[in-house]
C-alpha cells in the first residue's frame, strides 16, 4: 500500500470519474442540484459564523431549507436510479410526485418559520426556555433593522 500512494489517488480519481461518466444525464442534473443546495447551505453557515446568528429562525430556516432540499433530491435520485434494485416497482412519475409533495410541505413550513419570532413576554417569563440570551452579540449595522421590527411587534 505504502509503495503506491502516489499512484493510487490518481487511479482512484480516474476510476471514480469513469464510474461517474456512466451515470445517466438526468441523475447528473439531480447531482448538480444537490451540490448547489449543499453549497448554499455552506455559504449560509459561513455567513452565520462571520456575522452572527441573530434572527436565529431565519438562519435555521435558510440552512434547513437547503439541507432539506438536498436530502429530498437525494431521495429522488435513489428512487429513480435504474440500478437500484430496491425501487424496481416504483415508477419515476410516482417518485417525482412524492418529491414535489414533500418539497411543498417543507417550504410551507419554512415560510411559516421565517417570520416566527419568540414573543417578548414569553422571553421575559420563560427565562429558562428562552435562548436569546445565549445568542452571540451581533453587530449593529446588519441586524439593527430586524431588531427594531422585533421590538415593535
Amino acid at each position: 500500500m505504502g509503495r503506491a500512494t502516489s499512484k493510487d489517488p490518481q487511479a482512484l480519481i480516474h476510476s471514480l470519474r469513469s464510474a461517474y461518466a456512466a451515470t445517466p444525464f438526468s441523475l447528473k442534473i439531480i447531482d448538480l442540484y444537490v451540490g448547489f443546495a449543499v453549497f448554499s447551505a455552506i455559504i449560509q453557515v459561513v455567513y452565520m459564523a462571520i456575522v452572527g446568528s441573530f434572527p436565529f429562525n431565519s438562519f435555521l430556516s435558510g440552512v434547513l431549507s437547503c439541507i432539506g432540499t438536498a436530502v429530498l433530491a437525494v431521495c429522488l435520485r435513489v428512487q429513480v436510479n435504474k440500478e437500484n434494485k430496491e425501487f424496481k416497482d416504483l415508477p419515476p412519475e410516482r417518485a417525482f410526485s412524492d418529491f414535489v409533495f414533500c418539497n411543498l410541505v417543507l417550504h410551507l413550513v419554512i415560510m411559516n418559520f421565517l417570520e416566527e419570532m419568540v414573543k417578548p413576554e414569553s422571553c421575559l417569563i420563560m427565562s429558562c426556555r428562552c435562548r436569546w440570551s445565549s445568542c452571540p452579540a451581533e453587530p449593529m449595522g446588519i441586524n439593527f433593522a430586524q431588531n427594531i421590527t422585533t421590538s415593535m411587534k
Binding site: 482512484l12 434547513l64 419568540v118
Partner: protein, 814 residues
C-alpha cells in the same frame, strides 16, 4: 419466492386457476372480516372507557384536565389567534403565565377542532362533552394505529391481536377514561401512528410516507413532551441498522427527511421553539443524521468502485475523515458544554439518572407519577402481557427484519424508561401490546395449524400439499412488502455469501441469520405438535386471554374510573356514599368571593380553582417557577403571623386547604406537607426540615426502618412545637375537636396533638360537608393597633433580614 411456491403448487395440482380464485375470495373475505373486527375493536376501546361516565357522571377528572378544559374553552370562545397570544393573569399571581407559548397545544387544538366540526354539522355539543369524550375516541384511533404498526411488522393476525390488547390495556385506560382529558390521551395515538409511518416508510421506501411521518411527528410534538422519546428512539434504530449492516436506501429515505422536516416542524411549536436544535435531547438525531450521510456515501462509492480501488479510497478518506470527525466532535462538545445543565433539561436528566430528581429537584420528585414504579404496578398495568412479551421478542427474531428490530428496540427502551417513572408505563403499554400480539398470534398460528393437520381425513400427498400451501399462506400472511425483500435477501446471502466481498465479521453475522431462517423454515415444515397438546395449549391461551379481559374490565370499572374530584365509598350496608366536597368548595368560592380575589392553596389545586371557581391563584400545577411555589410552601409551614405577612404581600384574600382527617381521605395537605417544607426550605433556608420531624428515641425501632432524613411527620402529642404552630396544622385542625370530642384523625390514625387553639390572623369562612376543603379568609389588620403592628412588623422584618443575610438567600416578600 412466492411465485416459486405457486409454481410448485400448480405443477402438483394442476388446478391453479381455481386455487387462485379461491384465494382471492378468501383474501376478500379476510379483509372484510378484519375490517369488521377493527370496527368492533374501536367500539370496545371507546366503550370500556365509559365506566366513569356511567358510574359517576360526565365530568372532567383530576387536575391537569381542568386546565386543558379551561384552555379549550378559551380557544373555542376567542379563536386560535387569541389563543396563541393568551396571557393568563388568573394564575401565578402576580407573574401571570403566557399560556399560548408554554402549553403543548395538540390536545386543545384537537378538541377545539372536533367541537367546531360538530357544531358546524349542527350537532350542538358543549365543549365539556367534547373534552370528556376526546380521550376514548382517540384510544380507538390508537388501537387502529397499533393494528397498522403490528401489521407492518408481523402481518394481519398479529395486528388484530395487538389492537385488541391495546384497546383494553389498563395502563392506557388509566390515562384515557372518559373525562381524563390529558395530553397523553392523544399523544399515545400520535406516538404509535408516528412509529407506524416510520416502519411503513422503511418498508416501502416511499417519500410520501416519509412526509406523512414528519407530519405525524409534528402532531406528537404538539401534544406531548414525550416526543423526545421518538426523536431518540428512531435514531437509535437507524444506528442499530447501520451497525448490523442493514443499511439500505429505504432507511435513508425513512430517516433523513424526517430529521429535517421534523426539526423544522418541532421548532414551529412555541413551547419547543429553538429547543428543537438547542438541547441535547435532540442532538442524537443530528449526530445520526451525519452518520447516515457518511454511510450512504460510503455505500454509494462502494457500489461504483472495484474492491481494490475502494480499499484505496478508504485509506485516503479515513485519514482525512478522522480530522474532520475530531473537529465535529469538538464543536459538539463545546456546544453542549456551553449550555447550562449540559444541555439536558431536568426531566430528561432524571430519566438517565433516576436519582437525579430526588437529589436536585424536589418539585419533580414530589409528583407521585414521577416516582419509580413498584412490581405490583407492572402487574396491575400490563397484567399478563408482562409474561407474553419475552415470547413476542423471540418471535420478532424469526426472522429479524428492520421492522421487527425496531419493535424490539422500542420495548427494550420503554421497559427501561418505565422503570424510572411510573408515568412512562404509558409508553411501555403499546410496546407490550404489540409484542404480546405477535406472540399470541404466532402461538395460535402454530397450534391451530397442528390441529388442522391432524384432523382425520387428510393423508399422503394431500397432506404434503396442505403443508406446502400452509407454508405459502403463512408466508403471505407474514410478509408485507418490505419483509418479503428481507427474506429474499437472507436467502440470497445464504447462497452467495461466499461470493460477496464483505468483511469477516459481517459475514459472521449474516451466516447465522441465513441458517436461522433455513432452520425456521424447516421447523415450520415439521412443526406439528401432538393434537392433545395443541388443543390444551389453545385452551390455556384462551383462558389467559380471558383472565386478561376480566382484569382489564375490573381495572376500567373499579380502579381507574374515579374522577378524584367526586369520591365515592360503599357503606357497610352496601349503600353508595358520595363525597362532592371539592365542587362544593369551588362553587362557594365562585359565588361568595369577589372576581379579583386571590386564593392561595398548595399547587395541586391551582388548576381546579382557576377552572371551576374562576379565581386567581398564586401557584398551579404547571410548576414552572420553583421560587413561587417555595413561597407558598414557606407560608404554609410558617407560624400564623409570618404566613399572614407572606400571604398579604401576595394580595391573597383566601386560603384553601384540603383536609382528609374527618373522612379518611389520604391525599390531603397534611400528607403533602413534607413537600411543602422541603420545597420551601430549598429556597428559603429558615424553613428547616428537621424542625418538623419527630426524632423521638422511644420509637427508635420504627425510625430505623425508614431513612433518618425522611423521619416522621407527626401531628399527635409527640409532634414538635414548630409543627403544631405552623399554618398548615392550624388551618387543617381548627375546630376539629368539635366534631367528635376527641379530635381523632382517621388518616394518620391518631389523636391530634393540639386540640384547642384560636386563629389570630385568619378566620374560617367555609368548610364543606365532610370537612374535606376548608377555606379561610385573611383577617384585615386591626385599625386600633395598626401603627403598632406596622412598627413591630418593620422591626421583625429588619431582624429577619439581618438574620437571613448570613444564609445568603433573601425572602423577597419583605
Amino acid at each position: 419466492m412466492l411465485e416459486e411456491d405457486t409454481r410448485i403448487l400448480s405443477m402438483a395440482d394442476g388446478e391453479s386457476s381455481r386455487e387462485a380464485t379461491a384465494r382471492t375470495l378468501r383474501n376478500a373475505f379476510g379483509n372484510v372480516l378484519s375490517f369488521f373486527i377493527l370496527l368492533l375493536i374501536g367500539i370496545l376501546a371507546f366503550s370500556i372507557r365509559l365506566f366513569s361516565v356511567i358510574k359517576y357522571e360526565s365530568v372532567i377528572h383530576e387536575f391537569d384536565p381542568y386546565f386543558n378544559y379551561r384552555v379549550t374553552q378559551f380557544l373555542t370562545k376567542n379563536g386560535i389567534y387569541d389563543f396563541w397570544n393568551w396571557f393568563d393573569d388568573r394564575t401565578w399571581y402576580p407573574l401571570g403565565r403566557v399560556i399560548g407559548g408554554t402549553v403543548y397545544p395538540g390536545l386543545t387544538l384537537t378538541a377545539g377542532t372536533l367541537w367546531w366540526l360538530l357544531n358546524s354539522l349542527n350537532i350542538p355539543l358543549s365543549v365539556e362533552t367534547v373534552c370528556v369524550f376526546t380521550a376514548p375516541v382517540f384510544s380507538a384511533f390508537a388501537s387502529w394505529a397499533t393494528y397498522l404498526l403490528t401489521k407492518e411488522v408481523k402481518g394481519t393476525g398479529a395486528g388484530l391481536t395487538a389492537a385488541v390488547l391495546l384497546a383494553m390495556v389498563p395502563s392506557y385506560i388509566s390515562r384515557s377514561v372518559a373525562g381524563s382529558y390529558d395530553n397523553e390521551a392523544v399523544a399515545i395515538f400520535a406516538l404509535i401512528f408516528t412509529f407506524y409511518l416510520y416502519i411503513k416508510t422503511l418498508n416501502t421506501g416511499s417519500l410520501f410516507y416519509a412526509t406523512l411521518n414528519a407530519l405525524a411527528y409534528f402532531y406528537m410534538v404538539c401534544s406531548w413532551g414525550g416526543y423526545t422519546f421518538i426523536i431518540n428512539l428512531i435514531p437509535m434504530h437507524v444506528l442499530l441498522c447501520i451497525v448490523t449492516g442493514r443499511f439500505s436506501s429505504r432507511l435513508y429515505i425513512a430517516y433523513a427527511p424526517l430529521v429535517v422536516l421534523g426539526t423544522l416542524l418541532a421548532a414551529l411549536v412555541p413551547v419547543v421553539g429553538f429547543n428543537a436544535v438547542m438541547t441535547s435531547e435532540h442532538f442524537a438525531s443530528f449526530l445520526v443524521f451525519i452518520i447516515i450521510h457518511v454511510v450512504a456515501l460510503v455505500y454509494h462509492v462502494k457500489g461504483n468502485l472495484s474492491p481494490r480501488m475502494f480499499k484505496v479510497a478508504v485509506t485516503l478518506v479515513v485519514s482525512v475523515g478522522m480530522v474532520v470527525c475530531c473537529a465535529m466532535i469538538a464543536v459538539l462538545i463545546a456546544l453542549v458544554a456551553s449550555s447550562p445543565t449540559k444541555g439536558w433539561s431536568g426531566r430528561s436528566l432524571s430519566l438517565l439518572d433516576p436519582t437525579y430528581a430526588s437529589k436536585y429537584i424536589p418539585i419533580i420528585a414530589s409528583v407521585s407519577e414521577h416516582q419509580p414504579p413498584t412490581w405490583p404496578s407492572y402487574f396491575m398495568d400490563i397484567n399478563v402481557l408482562a409474561f407474553l412479551v419475552p415470547a413476542g421478542i423471540i418471535a420478532c427474531f424469526l426472522p429479524l427484519s428492520d421492522a421487527s428490530s425496531f419493535v424490539v428496540l422500542y420495548i427494550v427502551t420503554s421497559v427501561y424508561f418505565s422503570g424510572v417513572m411510573v408515568r412512562l408505563m404509558l409508553v411501555l403499554a403499546p410496546a407490550a401490546c404489540i409484542m404480546s400480539g405477535i406472540a399470541l398470534s404466532e402461538a395460535f398460528n402454530v397450534l391451530t395449524r397442528s390441529v388442522k393437520f391432524q384432523l382425520p381425513g387428510s393423508s399422503g400427498i394431500s397432506q404434503v400439499l396442505l403443508i406446502l400451501s400452509m407454508i405459502k399462506s403463512g408466508d403471505t400472511s407474514m410478509n408485507t412488502d418490505g419483509e418479503q425483500n428481507d427474506i429474499a435477501k437472507t436467502e440470497k446471502t445464504d447462497e452467495t455469501a461466499k461470493e460477496r466481498p464483505s468483511k469477516k465479521n459481517k459475514r459472521k453475522e449474516k451466516e447465522p441469520v441465513g441458517k436461522a431462517s433455513i432452520r425456521s423454515r424447516v421447523e415450520r415444515r415439521l412443526l406439528v405438535l401432538p393434537l392433545e397438546a395443541s388443543v390444551i395449549a389453545i385452551i390455556l391461551l384462551v383462558l389467559l386471554g380471558a383472565f386478561y379481559v376480566v382484569h382489564c374490565v375490573w381495572a376500567a370499572a373499579e380502579a381507574y374510573s374515579a374522577p378524584s374530584i367526586v369520591l365515592t365509598t360503599y357503606s357497610r350496608e352496601g349503600g353508595l356514599h358520595v363525597f362532592d366536597d371539592f365542587r362544593e368548595a369551588y362553587a362557594w368560592l365562585s359565588h361568595n368571593t369577589e372576581v379579583d380575589d386571590k386564593v392561595a392553596s398548595w399547587w395541586d389545586y391551582g388548576y381546579q380553582t382557576t377552572a371551576m371557581a374562576n379565581r386567581t391563584v398564586i401557584v398551579d400545577n404547571n410548576t414552572w417557577n420553583n421560587t413561587h411555589i417555595a413561597t407558598v410552601g414557606t407560608a404554609m409551614s410558617s407560624p400564623e403571623k409570618a404566613a399572614w405577612e407572606i400571604f398579604n404581600s401576595l394580595d391573597v384574600k383566601y386560603v384553601l386547604v384540603v383536609f382528609g382527617g374527618l373522612v379518611g381521605y389520604p391525599s390531603d395537605d397534611i400528607n403533602k406537607f413534607l413537600w411543602m417544607v422541603r420545597i420551601g426550605g430549598g429556597v428559603f433556608p429558615h424553613i428547616k426540615e428537621p424542625d418538623y420531624l419527630m426524632l423521638n428515641l422511644i420509637d427508635f425501632s420504627f425510625l430505623s426502618l425508614c431513612p433518618k432524613r425522611d423521619g416522621q411527620y407527626r401531628i399527635d402529642s409527640q409532634a414538635t412545637p414548630t409543627m403544631l404552630n405552623c399554618l398548615m396544622y392550624k388551618l387543617s385542625y381548627y375546630r376539629f375537636v368539635e366534631t367528635d370530642g376527641k379530635a381523632f384523625d382517621r388518616v394518620r390514625q391518631t389523636e391530634i396533638g393540639k386540640k384547642y387553639f384560636k386563629l389570630t390572623h385568619f378566620e374560617e369562612v367555609f368548610t364543606t360537608h365532610h370537612w374535606m376543603v376548608r377555606i379561610y379568609k385573611l383577617k384585615p389588620p386591626k385599625n386600633r393597633i395598626r401603627g403598632k403592628t406596622k412598627k413591630s412588623k418593620s422591626k421583625a422584618s429588619s431582624t429577619s433580614s439581618s438574620k437571613r443575610s448570613g444564609t445568603g438567600k433573601r425572602n423577597p416578600w419583605h
